[in-house]
Symmetry: C2
Subunit: 297 residues, 2 copies
């Protein structure tokens, strides 16, 4: 069966009963499973993770938007995280038996439905973007809810679907398709923050590193060590093992060893298998050789 993951971000992270009602709306949808809800009070934002087939995910997202639009008013919303909508962003992620093109098609279908049913303007982003200027979420969201009405008067910010002005209380929603994101940290056996920062700069796209790496250097005060904290946004094109090897090599430059690494949250099996293939120099490996995959087919 095709599996699509969806990770809507909603602009509510403080009123637990409102978050619970949104989670319930997802849970009640057929053909989908609620995997995780993470609320952040200072961001006043929650990240909801769900998965299922295309029809199930569509049902769940529309139920979530209905609930969020009724409960959230951006005019009174305050929080540290940038946002422009009650349901701020809805990425669809291909997991199994489904292509990126399928997720792009689903993003367009769900985006059109959100605009039609709730009169909320919708922008398509990432792989679903209709214009290079709309690929990055940050560009679409710049100015946030407070600047949205003025921004939308410009012809280049006409939404992909729905009215050419913000929804009064629910703002606008960004819908799209992207690869699974892997949150990956490498801890260094040193307390030298400058080393972590230099390595982060070397590997992240923004300063000349890998195309699909975002990275920053941090101190882990309690442990007296430093961390290169990363988001890997396309594990097929920028695989974990290549990033790890470069971090290790760069650390050597400063006489520093890698202490350990950690995967935060979920990782697709294919990303781990690729690391095993690389290091064991396995030739001609096929996913069907994994016993669990064979049993599924």
């Amino acid at each position: 069966m095709a599996i699509i993951e969806c990770v809507p971000n909603v602009s509510e992270g403080r009123r637990t009963e409102a978050v619970a009602a949104m989670a319930d709306a997802v849970r009640a949808a057929a053909g989908v499973r609620l995997l995780d809800v993470q609320s952040d009070a200072s961001h006043n934002r929650s990240v909801i993770t769900l998965a299922g087939d295309a029809a199930g995910v569509e049902r769940a997202v529309l139920a979530l938007v209905e609930r969020a639009a009724a409960d959230i008013d951006l005019r009174t919303h305050r929080g540290e995280h940038p946002r422009m909508g009650a349901v701020d962003v809805v990425p669809f992620v291909p997991i199994d038996g489904v292509t990126m093109a399928d997720c792009v098609a689903l993003a367009k279908k769900v985006g059109a439905a959100i605009a039609d049913r709730f009169a909320i303007p919708v922008y398509l982003y990432e792989e679903a973007a209709t214009d290079p200027g709309r690929k990055n979420l940050e560009d679409i969201r710049r100015g946030e809810f407070e600047g949205l009405a003025a921004k939308m008067t410009a012809p280049e910010w006409k939404p992909d679907f729905g009215p050419a002005a913000p929804h009064p209380s629910a703002g606008a929603t960004v819908v799209g398709a992207r690869m699974p994101l892997i949150a990956y940290n490498i801890n260094l056996a040193t307390n030298r923050l400058d080393v972590a920062k230099k390595i982060a700069a070397a590997i992240r796209q923004s300063s000349g590193g890998f195309r699909f790496v975002k990275a920053a250097g941090f101190k882990l005060e309690d442990r007296g060590i430093v961390q290169v904290s990363m988001n890997l946004t396309n594990y097929e094109k920028t695989p974990i093992f290549r990033v790890f090897e470069v971090v290790k090599r760069e650390a050597e430059r400063y006489g520093v060893q890698v202490l350990e690494s950690e995967i935060v949250g979920l990782v697709p099996a294919a990303a781990l298998n690729a690391a095993a293939e690389y290091y064991l120099q396995i030739e001609g490996f096929k996913p069907e050789q994994v016993l669990e995959n064979k049993l599924k087919t």
Copy 2:
């Protein structure tokens, strides 16, 4: 759902219609899937791979024994591979949501049923063995079908279940539980067979190497290279990555590089994940972090 793999070896690898009838007997059982059938004419033997829950696997094995006992006569059977039964050996393998103890219990239950229903003597081996002298299949099978009647007169070769003499045409069957077996080869960038043989000797249990490795050195004539060919019989206790690293290091001793490795047939996901964890130095990794596993639960 609990998944047990079962890999019965039957003493028929030439008459395709007889093999097909045995495969059909497995296929017809509820709660089980036939994954693979490999026949070898010179061995005159077939390896059947199936998987399912305990009840399904039990049903399939009993149906297979019934078919094989009706179709195979060891008195006229010839083949290169050692054998003592129509269904020669039946290993149960824990795959998912099931322990080795569960597979041992299943081996005893199915072994008793084979003896009861078909009057075939049954020996328990590997993890299900009732005596250290019966752990190894080779020890139980020594003397083969032709020597079995004489061997069974000795008190130490009284079977675990069933009559104290061979079934006239179906011999005896060995039933047990073991870890998944991984067929793993490492190809070396050299044509020096002595290097492959020395490395095989260094890593296999029989000559002082790893506890759960069987290995031999071969020439791949057509490619002008050599291969260290291995069976890894317990990937948890002797993991792939450790064997690979030692082969690589031993090869260096002779100025030889590892060209590539290959996994033949199936491999449990956990064996690949362990390699990723090792090389990426991942701390605190949990199987539930694999997205596909999370979706299953």
